[in-house]
Amino acid sequence: MSRTIFDKIWDAHRVTQTPGGLDLILIDRVLLHERTGGVALRGLQERGLPVFAPDQAFAVMDHIIDTRPGRTDRTLMPTGTDFILATREAAGKAGIRLFDLDDPQQGIVHVMSPELGIVLPGATLVCPDSHTCSQGALGALAWGIGSTEAEHALATSTLRVRRPPRMQVRIDGELAPGVTAKDLALALLGRFGVGGGAGHVVEYAGSAVRALEVEARLTLCNMGTEFAAFTAIVAPDEKVLDFLKGRPFAPSGADWDAAAKEWLSLASDADAEFEVERLFDAREVAPMITWGTSPQQVVPIDGAVPAVGEGQGTAESQRRALDYMGLEPGARLTDLPIGAAFIGSCTNSRISDLRRAAALLRGRHVAPGVKAICVPGSTQVKRQAEAEGLHEVFQAAGFEWRESGCSMCFFAGGESFGPQERVVSSTNRNFESRQGPGTRTHLASPETVAASALAGHIADPRQVAAR
């Protein structure tokens, strides 16, 4: 019988079925971070339960650690140090490999896991973090869970899950020059809405997806959670093999050969069926920018804030968003002055993101009054960027150059952009007060963030020549 990639992975991991029809799914990797992982480990330890397979669990500091140079366990977030210390202690007790804040392999969990080959095609991977879907870009079944489910996965190496329905989003055609995976992810949300994934495993397929490099696929899959998907996945191909080969936690030798053969066989069969099939034309996508407080409130960069009643969401939610963002329908996005620009997060902080942004910033300077920050996604990304001299490009352009971490993607009581401050951000959420109380976030690609920082207002990156 024909099967999708999801079916192949699911069936290979099904230990048994419960009387109530849930599948008991073997979990190959559990990832934890200090924000929600420490509490899960502690919960388990309070119950006196050991970790079933500590060698297959990993913890990393990324969420609330300081990203300013010379960081220590102290955080800008009040009580943040408690989370760091608790996670360090609990990971030590559990015998779990911890990537601590000074570890050369530390990074945002969804950046460092692919980078180290912790996530592998065909594997099941969970993490108490909604953006775990990012890692589906390598052909893994990777999904976000809560802390209680993380305790379950740690204690039993399994999860009880109702088999989710399947959706294929087939994206054909070529992305235009200057248009990125981030723009594609935002355009999909604009078209199908934040409820569009409706709990399905969403397989991104089609020539436009095949054409994306692995890092770009990570960006596309990252916003699967914004799409309300169970998770997102892309079939592994030669690009994924090239990406993974030689990574520290990836197999080598005969294991690699056997693994690679199996991974290439995971792709959905040609006649496999999905509960929902959607088509999308990559040629329609322009650089995108959000105007509101939901990622589905998005328009092409040369567009205007839509009239109430047009676009995604209820009229009431649009009015709330207009009020929060300080906007009127009809306002052109490129007319909006900005106070800050942020490049970072599990969506867009990998080396390819930084290279593309640097190409626009090289030999230029951000507009007066713009606070500009770049936070590499991992310590390895930071070091690679520095080896290429990119840090000098960012710094010469007026960007702060930080240590890796989640940083100002979200406000935890520490650093903030300030009330009513308008920020163009390469992150994934523009919710009310996400980046600080009253802060107005516009989501976009790293190129659009760079171009906007230079201009001092939201700007089309296609109008800045790369250097």
Partner: protein
């Protein structure tokens, strides 16, 4: 986990779509490495007049005297979207909420509800709007959620059937803990892993392998 069979209680309407977990419990309110002490921060951005303040925002639904002691929340589509933080459900539960009625839920949030004995009730948008309207007009804004019968009922007699995953329903009715049940299958899991390791050796012992 406290079993849930049926509950008649004050229900608060918060009829907004896409209520995200940052709104339910802002990250700045997650101050300790604990599942407790979160009720005070529930909906902090909407519930209080300013960041860090505890002065009630008078017009926010939970601050209206008629909804004091609410145990059921009625809200819009895609409830609980955003961050996977289980703190959102812990905050709702600690505040006293035992059920949320909405047209749809974010999948992770829905799982978190079930893990904590909070019933996620899915009704279509029209039914949710009718219920919210009736609650706003009622002298006493009461609602009954009957998990056994899978119904939601207003005091005026109108009621709606809802569907829920039967395994989730069973766990909620009994207040069962999933880890304890799964650990009864530990031998089966271990045997499965042995077979799997022969087939996919590269999945196992990654840390040892990385150390060479």
């Amino acid at each position: 986990m406290k079993p849930f069979i049926r509950l008649t209680a004050t229900a608060a309407p918060l009829l907004r779509d896409n209520v995200d977990t940052d709104a339910i419990i802002p990250s700045r309110e997650m101050r300790s490495v604990s599942k407790k002490g979160l009720a005070d921060g529930l909906f902090a951005g909407w519930r209080y007049t300013a960041i860090g303040s505890r002065e009630p925002q008078a017009d926010f639904v939970l601050n209206q005297p008629r909804y004091a002691g609410a145990q059921i929340l009625v809200s819009g589509a895609n409830f609980g979207c955003g961050s996977s933080r289980e703190h959102a459900v812990w905050a709702l539960a600690e505040y006293g909420f035992r059920a949320v009625v909405a047209p749809s839920f974010n999948p992770i949030f829905q799982g978190n509800c079930i893990a904590n004995g909070v019933v996620p009730v899915v009704l279509d948008g029209e039914a949710v709007a009718s219920i919210a309207g009736a609650l706003e007009e009622a002298t006493e804004p009461l609602l009954t959620v009957d998990l056994e019968a899978q119904t939601v009922a207003l005091v005026d007699g109108r009621s709606w059937h809802f569907d829920i995953d039967q395994e989730a329903r069973g766990a909620l009715l009994a207040g069962l803990d999933a880890v304890a049940r799964t650990l009864q299958l530990a031998d089966e899991i271990a045997a499965f892993r042995v077979q799997d390791a022969a087939r996919r050796p590269w999945i196992y012992a990654p840390v040892k392998r990385a150390l060479g």
